[in-house]
């Protein structure tokens, strides 16, 4: 009898329409995140791939991966999201060993239906690299893009108590998707044969990993710089359906100190590192003076154990950046609602007039331009085709860009 009861309970654990079994008892904070199912990922070849995902409520758009969540060892964290989409979602705090109530698994913790807020409370007790993702129909929701990285830093600029000091963090989240699934998730069953055909590092691929060619005008790519004599902490995590194999040049003197949010008993030098789905590693690299090279990120089919694809992450001595064009100024525009079908309201967060403004499509083609003598304005976008766009504002030497989706 006991076995039968257990079986019936367990059999319902992953069904996502059951009532919550563990209620939250604290007052939820204002949602930091929201979930959406109407995002667009611009591929390396300029293709618009539908995505689901998490975004900052302050930004109003979702991204793949979701926003990097950063905490410090010992932080008491209250994390909330509002579900702005038709399907139910959760946040599973992968690797943080949170209690059952905050585990993000439907029915053992709770599920967040449309227009509701879900709140999670936990202590960031261990420093390290962690992940978060939706745990509703996980096979589908992850390939659609519902994941991100969590970084728990230790005070004092060290990886962990008694661990090595380092200069700065470089989060690198490896993931992939099967384009056909994202284009038509409703028809994506069966899930046992998802074969990714698009591979990403922090949501970027191929030439997008080079500066200035992300598909978004003016948005920087991924070049990791580190002053000679310092160490850069590669925060490596995988949300892929493939095996990620890193090929790290010996000139980077890479040393692995942590895995899955725990120090490894004996740090080890690494020139090749396998990262399986869900795993994380923290690797310190120390580029030689005038070093300018790449880490190869290989993707391997886990079923047939075949090489599939490579991306490259560029690393260079920070001294080589001197004389490079200045990085774009931080974004200072806010757009709402985003996505929108008809109108967007644009506000300059620093109070400057919007002045000369331009809308670009994902390929960088100018669509419309104008001038405003106000820090806010309303723009009709009903004429635009569905997709991702960039709004640029230039006021004297001050230039701002932000993305919106119609």
């Amino acid at each position: 009898m006991r076995v039968c009861i257990t079986f019936l309970f367990v059999a319902s654990l992953f069904c996502h329409n059951a009532a919550p079994s563990v209620a939250q008892t604290f007052s939820p904070p204002p949602p930091l995140l929201f979930t959406g199912m109407d995002g667009i990922l611009i591929s390396d070849g300029g293709m618009e791939i539908p995505i689901w995902g998490y975004g900052l409520t302050s930004d109003g758009y979702i991204t793949v991966p979701g926003p990097l969540l950063e905490y410090e060892t010992g932080d008491e964290v209250n994390l909330a999201f509002v579900n702005n989409s038709a399907e139910s979602h959760t946040i599973h705090l992968h690797g943080l060993d949170v209690n059952q109530a905050n585990d993000g698994v439907p029915t053992t913790s709770f599920i967040v239906v449309q227009d509701e807020v879900g709140a999670y409370a936990f202590t960031a007790s261990e420093p390290g690299t962690f992940l978060y993702h939706c745990h509703v129909t996980t096979t589908l929701h992850l390939t659609m893009g519902m994941y991100g990285m969590i970084l728990v830093r230790h005070p004092g600029g060290v990886l962990f108590e008694g661990g090595p000091a380092y200069y700065s963090d470089a989060p690198l989240l490896f993931s992939d998707l099967e384009i056909a699934t994202n284009l038509d998730p409703v028809q994506s069953y069966p899930f046992h044969d998802i074969r990714p055909d698009y591979f990403m590092v922090n949501g970027r691929s191929g030439s997008q990993l080079e500066t200035g060619s992300t598909g978004i005008p003016g948005e920087p790519g991924t070049i990791l710089s580190c002053p000679n004599g310092e160490s850069l902490a590669l925060r490596l995590g995988s949300m892929a359906y493939t095996l990620t194999k890193l090929i790290i040049p010996s000139e980077l003197d890479a040393m692995c100190y942590m895995s899955d949010g725990r120090p490894v008993p004996t740090p080890f030098g690494v020139e090749e590192l396998d990262i399986y789905p869900g795993e994380r590693f923290t690797v310190l690299i120390s580029p030689d003076a005038e070093y300018d090279g790449t880490i190869e990120v290989q993707s391997w089919d886990m079923v047939n154990q075949e090489y599939v694809h490579s991306n490259f992450v560029r690393i260079r001595d920070a001294a080589l950046n001197i004389g490079d064009p200045q990085s774009p100024e931080p974004l200072s525009l806010s757009i709402s609602p985003n996505p929108s079908r008809d109108f967007i309201s644009v506000n300059s967060n620093d109070g400057r007039d919007l002045a000369d403004w331009t809308i670009y499509d994902a390929a960088g083609k100018m669509i419309r331009s104008g001038h405003s003598n106000s820090p806010s304005m309303r723009i009709d976008i009903s004429f635009l085709e569905s997709g991702a766009y960039i709004l640029e504002s230039i006021n004297g030497d001050h230039k701002s860009r932000t993305r919106f989706v119609r």
Binding site: V10, T108, V303
Partner: protein
């Protein structure tokens, strides 16, 4: 390798009569290679299993033995084809056990840990002749997970005498723990981890499948006590544990918080049954107050 053919018949006779030899310097077991059907969703697959009786059971039996002592095994092949036998990376019989034949042999002492015993012939590998061998594990709470993946079409071909085609992709549709797929994994007393707060257990895991797998633990980190392939990971504390094809590991789990937590394959194609979620390689840890 020593094959005690002279003693086989005596030993087998005693075993069949329900008598066990009282020898303290080594352990002994008897395995039957049985044939049977494994039913999953709309598929019925012909499979082979190592059972501890002549009656077919869907799960391969887990063997236990002491560290630093020989293990004497008697294997009775009830299949229609010959099979070899070995302990991955440790020892191999070197000759086939013929259909309807019985062989007894001595496996030399092994260090504490978990190992895979198996038949490496094509029919044995694809139809499921692979089990968990636990050596020197003495904790009161012990669990084992024998991971496997199955492609029914390929199994049908091999069970009827077909050969593998080099260019045929492997597309498994079932992923199991001890031959259970979720939600039926909750019925498996060897796989469903049930303990009280403060208890400690070992989990012996063998990857008997044709591909790598990777298990993610909710709620807990586990410590590697042994591994037959990734030996550099012994002593690591992890929440996500790759199991390479053929690998056997021993993990230590300390029940330091109450609640019900899943453990599942994080290659998410493997948490499905014939493509439908949820299913496959998901089991649970239930920690009671």
């Amino acid at each position: 390798m020593k094959i005690y053919n002279m003693r086989n018949h005596i030993r087998l006779g005693l075993i069949i009569l329900g008598v066990t030899l009282n020898m303290n310097v080594f352990a002994q077991d008897t395995l039957w290679i049985n044939t049977g059907d494994w039913h999953q969703s709309q598929d019925t697959m012909s499979v082979l299993r190592f059972n501890d009786t002549p009656v077919f059971d869907t799960s391969n039996v887990a063997l236990n033995t002491s560290a630093d002592a020989s293990l004497f095994l008697t294997v009775i092949n009830m299949d229609t084809e010959p099979h070899d036998f070995g302990v991955d990376g440790i020892w191999s019989l070197g000759v086939d056990i013929l259909p309807n034949d019985t062989t007894t042999f001595e496996i030399p002492p092994m260090a504490m840990g978990t190992y895979r015993y198996f038949s490496s012939d094509l029919r044995g590998m694809y139809l499921g002749l692979s089990g968990v061998l636990k050596v020197g594990l003495n904790m009161p709470h012990q669990f084992h997970w024998n991971l496997a993946d199955f492609m029914p079409e390929r199994m049908d071909s091999i069970s009827s005498g077909g050969e593998l085609l080099d260019d045929e992709p492997y597309v498994p549709r079932y992923f199991s723990i001890n031959a259970y797929t979720y939600p039926h994994t909750a019925l498996d007393a060897n796989g469903y981890v049930s303990m009280a707060l403060g208890d400690t257990c070992t989990i012996s895991i063998v990857n008997s499948g044709m591909m790598d797998h990777v298990l993610h633990f909710h709620g807990f980190h586990v410590e590697y006590l042994s591994s037959t392939i990734q030996t550099s990971r012994i002593g690591w504390s992890k929440d996500t544990t790759p199991l390479l094809q053929g690998e056997a590991v021993t993990l230590l789990l300390i029940a330091n918080q109450e609640g019900m937590y899943p453990v599942h394959n994080h290659n998410l194609i493997a948490v499905t049954n014939s493509g439908f979620y949820p299913g496959g390689m998901i089991t649970l840890i239930n920690i009671t107050p």
